[in-house]
């Protein structure tokens, strides 16, 4: 493998995601939305078409269109290849090594060709024990590589297939060691990454078998390709939702420095994987959070947000910012404002995300802003005084529902002081409320009141209450009525949700009672 990084002959692994056939199979009817999404998305496995040794022959050049009729043929070939391997392993004579490599290579090719590699056939023919044997210590690098490559692709499919790798795990982990040749270690990391991406149970197995430390160490050097694969595998390993893996990672000496260093300097692809690690660390480990903040991560995140155009990078970076802010908005904001030595202010960077065409960026940026707006008065003023306000108002009327909901949180939070202590009633910030209402936000909130989403309807009603109570000169009710607010609230009269019913009715009673003169 060309280590000098010249582009001409060096081919980096093509990482591609696997179709989620398994996900659909696993879907059960009675599962809640949250659990289903999680199950589906946890599967972050990657099929290896071009191994780390740069062997490209079959991946692109073959270009066979795999159609369904070929599948049985492929499966038959796979079984045959496993048989060949078996006899090669048993053969003791001259040229045994060579035979093994040839047999492995054939199997590997078959497993790298199509979207649906003949994994089942290979497994039934008994591939795993043979591949484990091929991983034994002292084997030549090429053998280790081919074997790990086969295992990688076996692990990239259905859950049962991934689980089949269990007997191979100790050896795969072992070959992550610092004495292994780099391509071998990387290929093993890839296989382990697929296993970790399968589910929490397998992650726990990997952790108990000590996968974390050697994987973490693979991030120390500067070599890009290895770092990328290892970081990806590591992110799969620590994603939780249990925090223990993240906690373990933080304890690795020097890891936080390595993470910061790579995030700062690497190319965008590597930085993306590192960013996902940061996402999980910031969500799952308070120690990691404070160490990263002390290490200056916030500025680095903002810089990436400001300069990158890669959606794949922007998502985890934005989410990391969101996680940090969510931990302690006031503290984080203070640090950000104090450290501001670039042109990028956090609000400016979030505005850039709001202007993006990508739904996810808009939604999560609004979420971050809502948390900032939940902070101190200074933070609210900081947002309110910028051009982000017109963006928000526009988004409230035009964007998809989930974005509108987040924007609603921002706007509402801007209008109310956060209550300190349990019993103080939160005060309305009148000039913010007035300017936001004048900016035309009422129709958007009333629209939310009409939505079938309970949380959104609740937000809408709460904002209406602010308007009714807080707009000076008693103009609130007129404004609300002018936007059909009364009608929207009256829909709750017989609504099955009691809380909303009571909320809506109490507002109508209080502000639009007999004295008001409803035009009926």
């Amino acid at each position: 493998m060309a280590d000098d990084g010249t582009a001409s002959n060096r081919r980096d692994p093509i990482k591609s995601s696997v179709g989620n056939v398994a996900g659909q199979r696993r879907r059960q009817q009675a599962v809640t939305v949250a659990k289903e999404r999680r199950e589906l998305l946890v599967r972050a496995k990657r099929l290896c078409r071009v191994g780390t040794n740069g062997d490209v022959e079959d991946a692109c050049v073959d270009n066979e269109m795999m159609i369904d009729e070929d599948q049985p043929i492929l499966e038959a070939q796979a079984s045959k290849a496993v048989e060949e391997l078996k006899s090669a392993v048993q053969y003791q004579g001259k040229g045994a090594m060579q035979k093994m490599v040839i047999a492995l290579r054939e199997l590997r090719r078959l497993l790298s060709k199509s979207e649906f590699p003949p994994v089942e056939a290979a497994l039934s023919a008994g591939a795993i024990p043979l591949l484990v044997q091929c991983l034994s210590f002292g084997s030549p690098d090429e053998q280790l590589l081919e074997s790990a490559w086969c295992l990688t692709n076996i692990a990239a499919g259905k859950p049962e297939e991934t689980k089949a790798l269990l007997p191979a795990l100790p050896l795969l982990i072992a070959h992550l060691g610092e004495k292994s040749s780099a391509p071998v270690a990387e290929q093993c990391a890839w296989a382990i990454g697929n296993v970790a991406g399968e589910g929490e149970d397998l992650r726990n197995v990997l952790l108990s078998q000590g996968a974390l430390l050697p994987l973490a160490r693979m991030i120390f050097p500067d070599k890009s390709s290895t770092v990328r694969t290892a970081a990806w595998a590591l992110s799969n390993l620590i994603k939780g939702p249990e925090p223990k893996a993240a906690a373990q990672l933080v304890k690795v000496d020097g890891i936080m420095d390595a993470i910061l260093r790579h995030f700062k300097k690497s190319d965008e692809v590597t930085a993306t994987e590192i960013a996902w690690i940061i996402v999980y660390l910031s969500a799952l480990s308070d120690i990691a959070t404070s160490m990263l903040v002390k290490g200056g991560i916030l500025q680095l995140l903002l810089e990436r947000l400001a300069t990158s155009k890669s959606l794949q990078l922007l998502i985890p970076v934005l989410r990391s910012v969101g996680n940090f802010v969510a931990v302690d908005p006031k503290a984080i904001l203070t640090i950000l404002i104090r450290e501001q030595n670039t042109e990028e202010s956090i609000v400016g960077v979030l505005a850039k995300c709001l202007r993006s065409e990508h739904r996810v960026l808009k939604k999560e940026a609004a979420w971050v802003l809502s948390n900032i707006a939940a902070g101190s008065i200074e933070h609210k003023r900081m947002i309110h005084s910028t051009e982000v306000m017109s963006l928000l108002l526009r988004l409230l009327s035009t964007s998809p529902f989930d974005i509108r909901k987040e924007v609603a949180y921002v706007l509402g939070n801007l209008c109310v002081e956060s209550a300190e202590g349990g019993d103080t009633k939160p005060r309305i910030i009148q000039d913010h409320l007035v300017s936001i209402v004048r900016g035309g936000c009422l129709p958007g909130f009333i629209e939310l009141v009409r939505s079938p989403d309970i949380e959104a309807a609740r937000l809408g009603l709460q904002f209406i209450e602010l308007v009714l109570r807080g707009i000076p000169n008693g103009e609130g009710p007129k404004l609300v009525e002018g936007e059909d607010g009364i009608d929207a609230m009256e829909r709750f009269q017989f609504h099955e949700n009691e809380e909303l019913r009571v909320m809506a009715n109490s507002l109508v009673d209080k502000y639009f009672g007999e004295d008001y003169g409803i035009d009926e």
Binding site: N20, V31, T32, R37, I315, A326, R469
Partner: protein, 264 residues
């Protein structure tokens, strides 16, 4: 009516006023689901340091093998090819779907009409009082009708809809279900009469008994366990729940997301 400018003690109303709080979500929260999908969909586009030929070949592979990702919304069998397809699909299927009965509509307007007509007892109350509540489905027409049938006639006559068109196919309840509803209706009616005295004059109703009866009967009717329709305009896909906002399922709400606003 006096409107205080200072903070009002809405205490007697017990209204949960807006209180800004930070919201934190765990990494596997459904809140982040769409962002996680991006990671998968876009992963296939990562390819560095390839020669020109290889890039071309890769394109072909990607297209012919159409690596797809499944839609993460519960119950949706759709598999999408790319981010753009996913966004399209999401917009088409999941932003205009009824959270009560999971029917899907091509526009938000039709969805909202469906919700009013099928799930809103306030709507039915107004119908009972003779208002023209059934809107013409064609956007821009603006006409409204007193009954479902009248609207249907209009769609056929004026807008050339097929006579077999049914915006909302009422499902035939089983005998057991009908009997159960009948029993519930009777007991609810009695319960309502007891509450009459305490209720506020929220809405002027001439004939309270009949409207209340209608309303309570309708509120006991749920479409959740009726058989799926096959000819209706809104396609229902999958027997499982489609996009139901997690707040609707109270008992299943993840404790990690903090609720907005209530002063506790």
């Amino acid at each position: 009516m006096a409107m205080g400018m200072t903070v009002d003690t809405v205490g007697e109303l017990a209204f949960p006023v807006w209180n800004p709080i930070r919201r934190r979500f765990p990494p596997d929260s459904p809140f982040f689901a769409s962002g996680n999908v991006e990671r998968e969909l876009l992963a296939k586009q990562v390819a560095l340091d390839l020669t020109e030929d290889e890039i071309n070949h890769l394109q072909i592979i990607v297209e012919t093998e159409s690596r797809r990702i499944s839609c993460p919304i519960a119950g949706c069998p759709e598999r999408l090819k790319s981010l753009d397809h996913f966004e399209d699909h999401y917009n088409a299927r999941h932003t205009a779907s009824c959270s009560v009965c999971s029917r899907v509509y091509p526009t938000s307007r039709l969805l909202s009409i469906h919700i009013s007509e099928a799930h809103d007892s306030f709507f039915q109350a107004k119908v009972a009082r003779g208002y023209d509540m059934y809107e013409c489905l064609v956007e821009g027409c603006g006409l409204k009708f007193k009954t479902y049938k009248a609207r249907h006639r209009h769609l056929v006559d004026k807008h050339k809809f097929p006579t077999t068109f049914e915006f909302f196919k009422r499902t035939q309840l089983s005998k057991k279900r009908r009997e159960k509803l009948q029993r519930q209706h009777v007991s609810k009616l009695k319960h309502k009469e007891d509450k009459e005295e305490a209720s506020s004059d929220a809405m002027e109703v001439e004939d309270k008994a009949s409207v209340d009866g209608l309303v309570s009967a309708l509120s006991t009717l749920t479409t959740a366990d009726t058989t799926p329709s096959n000819v209706s305009f809104g396609r229902r896909h999958g027997r499982g729940l489609t996009f139901v906002p997690r707040s609707v399922h109270r008992e299943k709400r993840t404790e990690s997301s903090s609720a907005p606003g209530p002063t506790n």
